[in-house]
Amino acid sequence: MKQERLVVIGNGMVGQKYLDHLVADGLHQRYQVTVLCAESRPAYDRVHLSDFFTGRSSEDLSLVPALFFERHGIELRLSEGAASIDLQNKTIRTAKGATLDYDKLVLATGSYPFVPPVPGRGRPSCLVYRTIEDLEAIMASGRDAEVGVVIGGGLLGLEAAKALRDIGLQTHVVEFAPRLMAVQVDDGGGALLRRKIEQLGVFVHTGMNTTEIIDGEFYRHRLNFADGEHLEADLVVFSAGIRPQDTLARDAGLAVGERGGIVIDNHCRTSDPDVYAIGECALWGGRIYGLVAPGYQMASAAVSHLRHRRDEALAVPFTGADMSTKLKLMGVDVASLGDAHASTPGACCYRYEDERKQIYKKLVVSEDGRRLLGGVLVGDAREYNTLLQLMLNDMALPETPEQLILPAARGAAPTLDVTRLPDSATLCQCQNVTKGTLCRAIAEGHCDLAAIKQCTGAATGCGSCEPLVQTLLDTSGVAADALTEVGI
């Protein structure tokens, strides 16, 4: 029987995760796999992109183990994007004019930066921030620049601002909304974040609507704002949000959302049952997930479906993902959980702010005060993991939920009782490792952090779960010791 052909379009973070799962499940031997990659290098870690400015090379950022494609017989076509898809005939035309047949197709085309239609946006050294090429352009342009400005004060905008500061520019952030990171944090958190970021030497301008970019008098460009103010800069980076890269799908006639995004079901199938879409190009339940963890879950769901294509019931579906995040922006801890803005009817908030230490914490709890719905942490996000587990596992809150964010009067802060977590609780969000998996690994004799990491992959992504994994190790260690003591 002729081997079936599987084509993956896009070798970004999620596309690569898909291939990883494929290989882990041995499916790469069942299909003849071809990967079309529009970029000139295979997948790399976009999340840590800004480390490029502090000395990490593009090799360091690579997500592809050496010889991955060769060893697994996967064909990788670099710098060769897909130009069109013919769903009828199940063929793809590549940008280089080649035609490929497929039996199964995966779209992992990600997203592209949205550049608002500001006159002057196409001027030289007006750039975006998504790929290594973008970074190289920023660096090249930064060589002779003195002042840089980022349009957009969201998560990615602040990352970009960090990059500009890292290359030693006088850095400004211009945000349309009245606060930074409007999606993830509330007013209180946004105000504190702004103060901290300004202390780091980044100048923040909120509530500013850029109307045009023209020649500057003192620097290369002048940004004019709706309120008549202006700002001059040598380098402009747009970071005004992302848009799903769905043109291919749209042109091919696949169903796309009103505001973009390739519509998928719980198995990541598009409107054509032989075509999957995963990652930031995909629209599930009416939303685009602009984070990597949900994309990874889609990748895993899509592979699972491919594996169980004859018995769909066995496939692990994608059922939506949590959008909580914790990050370090220019050294400032910021975390946002669940319903950060308390938009759930009846939700109540607890807030704690320490202006001296510059810490802001907010809990959003259900009307009855028993369940955690969300939260915001700025300046100190130590409680993130505890809160996340409480929220995701729908665990009962203590009588006085505020103690979760108040500084402990003496001794250690209340920590999560890991033993109470269900086995299904995902401890490592990056690598999708559950408590059950970890416990099994420990039981198998992986009894230190290094071994656990190696065996399960937990805590090798952002690392924020490491304390939890360590506690799990410690507590299970106690149990094991107890057993030896009684002579078992």
Binding site: F53, G55, R143, E217, F218, G331, A450, G463
Partner: protein, 898 residues
Amino acid sequence: MTCTTCPYCGVGCGVIATPGDESAPNRLRIEGDPDHPANQGRLCVKGAALAETVGLEGRLLQPLMRDDDGREQAVSWDRALDRVATDLRRIIDQHGPEAVAFYVSGQLLTEDYYVVNKLVKGWLGTANIDTNSRLCMSSAVAGHKRAFGEDLVGGNYQDLEEADLVVLVGSNTAWCHPIVYQRLMQSRRERPEKRIVVVDPRRTATCEQADMHLPVKAGSDVWLFNGLLTYLEEHGVVDTGFVANHTGGAAEALAVARADGGRLEAVAKACGVPVAQLQAFYALFARTRKVVTVFSQGVNQSSSGTDKVNSIINCHLFTGRLGEPGMGPFSITGQPNAMGGREVGGLANTLAAHLELDEPVHRQLVQEFWGSPSIAREPGLKAVDLFDAVHDGRIKALWVMATNPVVSLPDADRVRDALRRCELLVVSDLFADTDTAAEARVVLPALGWGEKDGTVTNSERCLSRQKAFLPSPGEAKPDWWAVSEVARRLGFEGFGFEQPHQIFDEHARLSAWRNDDDGVRRAFHIGGLAGLDAEGYDRLRPCQWPVPQAGEHTPRLFQDRRFFHGDGKARLVPTAPRAPINAVDDEFPLVLNTGRIRDQWHTMTRTGRAPRLASHLPEPFVEMHPYEAMLCGVQDGALVRVASRWGAMVARLRCTADQPRRTVFVPIHWNDQRASDARVGALVNPVVDPLSGEPEFKHTPVMVSPFPVDWHGVVYSRSPLQFEGSEAPAYWVCIQGDGFLRYELAGRGRLEEPHHWSRSLLGFEQQPQWLEVGEVSAGDYRAAALAEGRLLACAYLSPRAELPSRSWLNRVFGKERVSEADIVGLKLGRSVDPADDVGATVCSCFSVGRNTILDAIRDNGLTSVEGVGRCVRAGTNCGSCQPEIRALIEEARLAEGA
């Protein structure tokens, strides 16, 4: 118990020294003097470590003479002084007095300064005497004279406490004037509404507590303050009455300021800061009446230093903000007695006692008082020119006192060359082995801190005693004595001083001499201190001049709104901004800025001897922005070569985002005795301010390139090592430990037979116990020598930069007996002693502990995760511990700044 004064910085803290008793004669105790107005009992780390630096190790105890072939001979004082006098006489007879020069230092006591100055200007009749204060504050002197008619610092440290706004310009106060900084911070804790603004191209430790940091481009201060002056005028923030009645020149100064400072955007561009920030600073300054503007080297050390000083003073004069508590411009000096030198006039362009060379009345007044045969009529050669004149043979005899110009002057290689050409070079110093003394014909043993006796004046005009509480070692003598002896041998009268109080008395009387409206009125008046006998002099408590009558001190000048120009008014001076003289270009694209680090002092001849001080940033380094490093192709933690048109040096690169782009920073401290090639002075452009003659230390175009090496090493030894010719490694630096010396090495080529090399270097051909691991894999070599269980030396060489933890080796070297575990550790090149806490594992891939990483960061001044990786491998595998390593770097950095 002796009340004396700290000899390090211009803060001039009072110190109580208690020499050890019979049971522990060497245990000197040092405390802050609670009654001294400068520090009220506090001391910074340098002051507190004073006891560690008074040892006699390496001290010169007898005069030395060298013949033409460099052969050295210890001689009696008589012979040495005869030689100096005879040669001086001969040179003066043949070439005239202008062929003789003196180069002295802000380390001298006022009495030493007075006597030298008197000899040079009154008896030799030249003004060829200059001082290393030229390098640090002569622009302030020139600026003060232009503004006030006299070199005056009106305010005091208390004003910094009382001010509502303190602007620190080009002054890393936290490190360079720690006690003033502590007082400032304390006052802010008490009054949180107080504001502190730092104007500095670098994000220094001082910025961390500041409310605002203006990271202005190097050399743009005049733009900044011209802009401020214009802003003040535009917003009507002017003390009209004061300007009209007590100043002149406001209209001219404003016209010039407006020309460049008229548009906020243009000023912002010139200074490289955002318009909004500039505006915020101007508005803050404008609305705060009680403002003190502190400035020091960052302002002074520039080819437009004097204009910078005046541009600052202009803003205070315009608003009448001086002469009252909590306000005024405030120049803070780097050296303990820079002010004393200024008071006696020990500079090439002043006469004496705040009187001027170019004023016939002043000359007459001084000559009359001295009864001297002649009086200098023209300014002498200023530091940089002076050494030029030595170089081209116009000056044939030079006497250097208490300073190390081969390290500290710009274009320092040329300075060394000049000294070699000099017919008669006399050096008075504590050590015979400084880079400068090494070139001298005659080296005279001077007294150190705790041995000498006299007075000093700190930055707030506070005159206090530095006293002897230790015996004079060997035949060392006060500098004033040596100078007087030479003067006597030259047949000069007026040098019959036997004790310092006699000199002080004469100095005090000169300050009062015809200091009235009939003579020449001047602020510097300490007539109230004249007539003290030895006992009264010893009991002298710190006091701020003028002291016209006994018991009358003057904490603050200008309260009467009287200044010292002929008309009694102050001057606003037009200051047109000028770019630094040497601009960067494609070949030398970076600006070199030089400065001091917290725990070292000047050229380390003293502080380099204190282990506690040497452990903070132990190696010479270059700081650079990481992105700039990337553009130059150099790596954090690696050795780099920094070169200018004038010279080059080698140091370790520290990448830090605190360093502005297109600039590099190099500390001034390292010398040829401590490192192979780390004198930054060799690179600095010999360019000076036209008025003050102060060199442009803060702006030399340079390039940075990799300094490739093939092996790295660290060697510990109980005695100094000699690197001979071809055996010398390409790079070495010597770091003082507690009872040992540590050498960081790096070399080129393969080190053939490392065991021979290390044995002959360490001089252990037949050691009792010589542990040698020899060449382990990959060219590593490890060896250690022990005698009776005590470590004598060890050597670790490797082709990689991964060498044992220095903190751990330091501890092992500190032990009287090493343990079995230590011996195993020495063989392995890392601690195996469980008592040696390596800390919680951070990098699990290579099991590297927290403390090991912190040690490596501190030992090597690492600033990046990559640097840590190169040193101890942590974070180089899976990389998931990198965030934690980054946090440790931050932690170490904060601890460093504390």
